[in-house]
């Protein structure tokens, strides 16, 4: 088991935790945590291939920076949705938000 | 009379005794070889001690220097602001002119009772002062006072400085949320808004220094200013950085989060005794860190005519900047939160961007001057 596969297994573990969080959690903010964990797992994978794989270091960092930028935009919109849902419905429990009208 | 829940403080004392012992044992284990080398040097040639990193970490640009300057800054601030407001300031404690007043304050704070509010989130409530002190103190590792007197001459020193200070808003929110008090909640959010909208001008104002020096390491930036200080190339950014610095340190013109008239004392309302003391201590250490950073980026660190050795130049400049920062408290009234935040976005950022664009366009001429 060479160096590269240790980091791939690490990003797989974080991916598994993220997916578990998305499936099992009912609080909308917890699901957002899980999405951030999954995005970071992808970033870790890029970094691992930059160090041990065939990806150039500068190329990997440029891609990873774009990933961080887009994850930031996604988090901003997601949190705004959660705040608005809390304001309209008073609760952010993903199970109970199934009616369109109040 | 509601009954009191179990005494949180005594259980905390037990845990923190164990934690302190483990931490100090770990530190001792880590620096053991360096400690031996230091002691040997003590007998062989004591002058060589001055540039061992352990000495630098613990004494000169490290802990002892910072805490002494923090105490002195507290005394100087109270006397200076008092003189500006035509009163005397601390006079009776200690010898001449109340010189021992800060030490008296320290002992007073240590012996004051720490009140932990009932509904507070006790773990975070107790730990956030320690976090604030650490986030305030950590950046001084990267700041150079002379080519040799820097603890860690890191290749990305400037970025590390900003990365460490990115934790401060988080600590402010934790402190505000854990004390479960309306004043601290509103004060914490105001502090968050102020710091969020003034961290951007700080980032953009530090960019010209990076561009002109061509690298992130603070010693390279300082040594690149041998001929011309960067404040001459980027005066607008220096002004914006100074304003951003005052906002980050929550000095008087930007003192919205702990506006005494409305918010009692902002997000540190529920803290008493040494917990509040740690916040203040962290604030003064951050003041020193920021002024060291400002001197390194815009006023050319230790560069100066050969009258004084380089170390005294940087100490002189840092003390001047600290004095200016302290005296501003006496001159300006407090700005309202909306003026403050809109000024931050409406005026400071366009000035910063203008300055960066000018430097970027004048690249061929600047290359001829600096390189």
């Amino acid at each position: 088991m060479n160096e590269l596969s240790v980091y791939i297994i690490a990003s797989v573990i974080f991916l598994a935790i993220g997916v578990y969080g998305i499936i099992a959690k009912r609080n909308a903010i917890r699901i957002l945590f899980a999405i951030e964990i999954v995005i970071n797992a992808a970033n870790l994978n890029i970094a691992a291939f930059a160090r041990y794989g065939s990806l150039a270091l500068s190329q990997a960092q440029a891609i990873a920076i774009f990933v961080i930028g887009i994850a930031a935009a996604e988090a901003a919109v997601g949190l705004a949705i959660i705040i608005q849902a809390f304001r309209l419905r008073g609760k952010i429990n993903v199970d109970e938000m199934n009616e369109m009208k109040e | 009379m509601q009954e009191l829940d179990k005494d949180y403080a005594s259980s905390f004392v037990k845990y923190s005794i164990v934690a302190v012992i483990i931490l100090l044992a770990l530190v001792l284990y880590l620096i053991y070889p360096y400690l031996l080398a230091l002691l040997q040097l003590l007998f062989l040639n004591p002058s060589a001690i001055l540039n061992t990193t352990l000495f630098k970490l613990l004494i000169f640009p490290g802990l002892i220097y910072v805490s002494i300057v923090a105490l002195i800054a507290e005394w100087v601030e109270r006397k200076l602001v008092a003189r500006i407001q035509v009163r005397v300031g601390p006079f009776y404690v200690g010898g001449w002119e109340g010189l021992l007043q800060p030490i008296a304050d320290l002992f007073k704070l240590i012996t004051k009772e720490i009140i932990i509010p009932k509904h507070a989130d006790k773990n975070i409530f107790i730990l956030s002062p320690v976090l604030a002190f650490i986030v305030g103190a950590l950046p001084i590792i990267v700041i150079p006072y002379s080519p040799t007197y820097v603890i860690w001459d890191y290749q990305f020193g400037l970025l590390l400085y900003f990365a460490i200070l990115a934790f401060y808003p988080l600590v402010v929110l934790l402190a505000a949320w854990s004390s479960n008090n309306k004043y601290s909640f509103i004060g914490g959010l105001r502090a968050l808004y102020q710091q969020a909208s003034y961290e951007v001008p700080l980032f953009l104002a530090a960019l010209p220094a990076v561009m002109l020096a061509g690298s992130f390491s603070l010693t390279a930036i300082a040594s690149a200013q041998a001929k011309v200080w960067f404040i001459l190339f980027a005066p607008l950014s220096a002004i914006v950085f100074f304003a951003g610095m005052m906002a980050e340190l929550e000095r008087i013109p930007f003192d919205m989060p702990e506006a005494d008239s409305e918010l009692v004392s902002g997000w540190t309302t529920e803290y008493s005794g040494i917990a509040w003391g740690l916040f203040q201590f962290g604030a003064y250490v951050k003041l020193l860190a920021y002024s060291g950073f400002f001197v390194t980026i815009f006023l050319g660190g230790w560069q100066g005519p050969a009258i004084l050795p380089p170390l005294f130049w940087s100490l002189l400049k840092v003390s001047i900047v600290v004095l200016i920062l302290l005296s501003v408290r006496g001159f300006f009234p407090r700005i309202r939160i909306d003026q403050l935040v809109r000024a931050g976005w409406g005026r400071l950022i366009p000035i910063c961007i203008l300055n960066i664009v000018i430097i970027a366009l004048l690249q061929p001429y600047i290359v001829s001057i600096l390189r």
């Binding site: - | 934690a19 880590l30 950590l138 001459d153 976005w345």
Partner: protein, 121 residues
């Protein structure tokens, strides 16, 4: 020693000393300071009145837009610092993208602030 005397080693040592110092402050305070606890003393501080229910949401969302703009400029500064550090290898004609990017970011500030003010966020 694996960590050697590189920078991160001293960073970790300084961090540990900082944590130990903070806790030491607390230890000395808990030993010296009196512990006279009383229910009234531990009520949340409300300058005397009874703390009513929180109407926080309105007041809290005053400047939410500025927080988002801070997020944007943080992300954009990631690219700007990369371009800034290599200033001497970019002729002005080549750094057009960065300059236009900087200028392009000004109008959104005013638009978002105007919308935020009208929308009351």
């Amino acid at each position: 020693m694996y960590l050697g005397d590189g920078g991160p080693f001293w960073f970790a040592v300084f961090l540990l000393i900082g944590i130990a110092g903070g806790l030491l402050f607390y230890l000395v305070a808990f030993i010296l300071a009196p512990r006279a606890r009383s229910a009234i003393k531990e009520e949340t501080f409300e300058s005397g009145q009874i703390p009513p229910g929180g109407k926080r949401v309105r007041l809290v969302m005053q400047y939410f837009a500025f927080l988002l703009l801070f997020l944007i400029f943080d992300v954009v500064s990631m690219f700007l610092y990369a371009w800034g550090a290599s200033y001497y290898s970019f002729a002005p004609s080549q750094s057009i993208y960065a300059i236009v990017l900087l200028i392009l970011l000004l109008p959104p500030i005013y638009i978002t602030l105007k919308v935020a003010k009208s929308v009351g966020v």
